[in-house]
């Protein structure tokens, strides 16, 4: 069910301000692709444009093509809601729904879309998704307790469980570990390794070691100067990026000469 993404000539705007300029890349199915780069270079903006979450912000728009499975996500008549059902997202800060229990949070995607399901079906989805997010053993005895009562790392894994419960083809992660401690981070990185078997994953991270640990491919975004739009400098296999990148700017950033 996992699919790749082909991006061509993508420009992303906030109102009149061009935030990301002319991105061309393809993301392969069943791989982890990490995006690194300095703050404000547009990696999160780019990630959000991949499932049409960018346009949720007033005035934000996108030009160019993003093709998944032969369909342009920004083509005429494409329903953003349908796109987001195919391409799930996990955010920087864990954001379980505060009014719902752990159980309800996991099936929120199905319930809120009013999919009719039997009790045993939802039970199956909850167990499968929580196992998929490595959270089942920790919460199986308190599924009816509020999701906000979990620790930060557990909440983030709950959000991942919620995202995979609707069985998307692609999973986007926007700095999923930046609010977490090293142990929770390790748990989520292990999880990303497992999820790779079923999903195509794109992850934004500020942590270059993390990019090196979890990803197969790495993209480096940069700014020419402050106030200028961000652009994709280089996309390569993670091995090449961290050993001998093609572009000298990438090497400068990765070896810590700036940024």
């Amino acid at each position: 069910m996992a699919k790749g993404i082909d991006v061509s000539n993508l420009n992303i705007y906030y109102g009149d301000f061009l935030a990301v300029e002319d991105v061309n890349m393809s993301i392969r199915a069943r791989t982890v692709t990490a995006f690194i780069g300095p703050s404000g270079c547009g990696k999160s903006t780019f990630l959000r444009s991949l499932n049409r979450m960018h346009e949720v912000i007033p005035g934000a728009r996108v030009e160019g093509k993003i093709v998944v499975d032969g369909q342009d996500l920004y083509g005429a008549g494409v329903d953003p809601v349908a796109v987001r059902r195919q391409i799930g997202m996990v955010f920087q800060r864990p954001n379980p729904f505060p009014t719902m229990s752990i159980y309800d949070n996991v099936v929120a995607g199905n319930r809120l879309n009013s999919r009719k399901m039997s009790k045993s079906q939802t039970d199956d989805i909850v167990e499968k998704s929580l196992r998929g997010a490595n959270l089942w053993t920790e919460v199986k005895d308190r599924l009816n307790k509020p999701g906000m009562g979990l620790s930060g790392g557990q909440q983030q894994r709950l959000c991942i469980a919620r995202a995979i419960a609707v069985e998307p083809q692609i999973l986007l992660m926007d700095e999923p570990c930046s609010a977490l401690d090293p142990i929770s981070t390790a748990a989520i990185e292990d999880l990303i390794h497992q999820l790779k078997n079923d999903y195509t994953i794109a992850i934004v991270t500020h942590n270059m070691q993390q990019a090196a640990r979890v990803s197969d491919f790495t993209g480096f975004f940069n700014l020419k100067a402050t106030g200028e739009p961000g652009h994709l400098v280089e996309l390569n296999t993670t091995k090449t990026m961290f050993a001998k990148p093609d572009n000298p700017a990438t090497e400068d950033y990765i070896s810590g000469r700036f940024g």
Binding site: P58, V81, Q86, M89, F97, T99, A108, P146, M148, A163
Partner: protein
Amino acid sequence: MTATDEALMPIAEPASLINPQLPRLAWLVAAAIAVILGILVGPLLLGWSWWSVPFVAGIALLIGLPAWSAVVEGRRAAVDRTVTLLVFYAVTGALVPLVWVLGYTVAKGLPAIDWNFLTHDQTSKLDPVTFKQLPGAGVLHAILGTLWITLGAAVISIPIGLMTAVYLVEYGRGTWVARTTTILVDVMTGIPSIVAGLFAVALFTEFGGPGTRIGVMGSVALSLLMIPTVVRAGEEMMRLVPADLREASYALGVPKWRTIVKVVIPTAFGGIVTGVMLAISRVIGETAPLLVAVGAMDYFNNNLFSERMATLPVYIISQYKQGAGPLQNAWGAALLLIAIVMVLNIVARIIGTIFAPKTGR
């Protein structure tokens, strides 16, 4: 750290952390002395009224306690005690009228309330056996009228108010329509209630001809006063819902309207309920619009759409105008009105707690 290092360390005299302090109950002693002083100086020495005692004692305490503290504890503690006293006086000043009104209403109103008062309307009846006239001074018709008219106002205001709030927060942000609506809502908050009553009269005169007085006119008048409060409360509460939650819902492929209905409103529900109840409490005691729009009535009328209706506030004012005997009934009705508002508030709190976002483990 070795022994030589320790020897090389400069030896500083540690600043003393101990300060002289007044005993813990010093304020109680000072207050007692101040009250005795107040009694001695006011009524006994200068022949003032006993009402002067709390004021004289309060001033004496405000001077005496900080002065004592300044001598023993120093300037900072004296300032602390002065400000603590001022805050305490302010709280007392705010609470006294409330408790007073409540206590006075209970004292005056409770004797008026009996079974007959709660279960009859105002029409006099003859006892079928003895043919003596029974006391017919009940308020049940006014209680029911108040509840019906307020219910009508709530049915009109809550959907309109909440949908306006949804529009302002979720759809209209930054547009001129939203800005204009916000300004108009603010202006509406300040309309004098009598104007709302006159508006209802003018509106229904168009449909029913001059002299039309029906219960729903009162509901319309009250809803004009209620809508702005509901809009404001709903707007504030929905704005407090983090954008993260909306994004989480969108990212699951949930359409916007479902996100609003299933995520935003439930998360804000506790606050919205409180706001709505405050709005109801605000209008349930309104007198002027009901007096002009609904009028008064002596017997039961449970139909909002025909004839005049009795309401508690209008009942109170009509009894008040009739002099000493019925005045007691006015107090009884006032007590019932306060009781209704209190019950509504308690119910709102319970609902709010049940639906509040849970954080327990």
